[in-house]
């Protein structure tokens, strides 16, 4: 599959995401924030970083980048979209996912190997995992606290839209320990921790993140 990785001004993890896509067995296609088309890709990754310097709110300016108009439209047609960290923030600001991400409750930037439980393996991005699988991948964020009103949280849990939950500790004050969510259709996934930093034994916290990239093909054709 051809997987587009969008680079915004201030993206940090776009090259790691491209590398993870390649290691996952796909062709990485670089997309630019100013692009008006998605170059026919089969899926899109919005990488981590500090797009537009996190000015105003994280992801608030990126939401209006030309490429996002295309991503929002394509996501509506079922294109798999994975937003990691800043990408998750952009997905929430774009209203592709409910809720919002706010400053960590303890105020500090957090960087750690984070234990997660995969709660939903029926999304376009998590089919390589067993439901309930416990994985360790890198977490690094300053504004990773997932918040939403109680009604939205209940709906997310009731409909199985919580994709991953923090296990050993809650690193940022996310409500109900939520680390990642999906939309009703399961094609759009937002995740605060970074699977693209855990795809090679040489670096990072092992290879537990690789499944997010290898599972894509199976999900697309199921």
């Amino acid at each position: 599959m051809r997987v587009g990785v969008v680079t915004f001004p201030g993206s940090l993890d776009d090259v790691d995401a491209q590398r993870a896509v390649t290691i996952g067995g796909h062709q990485a296609v670089a997309l630019w924030h100013g692009d008006h088309d998605l170059r026919g890709v089969d899926a899109v990754v919005l990488p981590g970083g500090f797009s537009y310097g996190d000015y105003l709110r994280c992801g608030a300016i990126s939401r209006f980048a030309p490429v996002m108009t295309e991503v929002v439209a394509a996501a509506g047609r079922g294109l798999p979209v994975l937003g990691i960290c800043n990408g998750f923030q952009i997905l929430c600001e774009s209203h592709l996912l409910p809720g919002a991400l706010v400053r960590n409750d303890h105020q500090k930037f957090v960087c750690r190997d984070q234990l997660l439980r995969i709660e939903n393996n029926r999304t376009a991005w998590t089919s390589a995992y067993d439901e309930g699988a416990e994985i360790t991948i890198v977490l690094k964020n300053g504004e990773g606290g997932f918040v939403a009103d109680t009604e939205t949280l209940d709906r997310l849990e009731g409909e199985g839209q919580v994709v991953a939950r923090y296990l050993d500790l809650n690193p940022n004050g996310s409500l109900r320990d939520i680390a990642g969510i999906t939309n009703a259709r399961g094609n759009v996934v937002g995740l605060m921790p970074h699977p693209e930093h855990a795809v090679e034994a040489l670096t990072g916290a092992g290879t537990d993140g690789l499944g997010f990239f290898t599972g894509l093909a199976a999900a697309a054709f199921s």
Partner: protein, 83 residues
């Protein structure tokens, strides 16, 4: 030049870690008696021409779509006398 001010505040039910940090710092600096701090943003928009109802309606739209995130923030719009 007329000025329209948009104040954006975190919703009451949303935890405001920045406000909490300020609240924690005040007693350390010898300021007492403050029981709660909420931190928000203030936008000052210089408007060309008169501030009509249409202009205000447009500022409301700006506040809803860009200046605030309605999921976590409330906003108010007011016109400030030219100074």
């Amino acid at each position: 030049m007329p000025r329209v001010v948009v104040d954006v505040m975190p919703k009451p039910e949303i935890l405001d870690p920045q406000g909490k940090a300020v609240l924690g710092a005040l007693p350390r600096l010898g300021f007492s008696g403050v029981t709660e701090v909420r931190q928000g943003k203030r936008f000052e928009l210089e408007v060309a021409g008169e501030v009509t109802d249409e202009v205000l309606a447009e500022v409301h739209q700006m506040a809803e779509t860009l200046l605030s995130n309605p999921v976590i923030e409330n906003f108010t719009v007011r016109v400030e006398a030219a100074g």
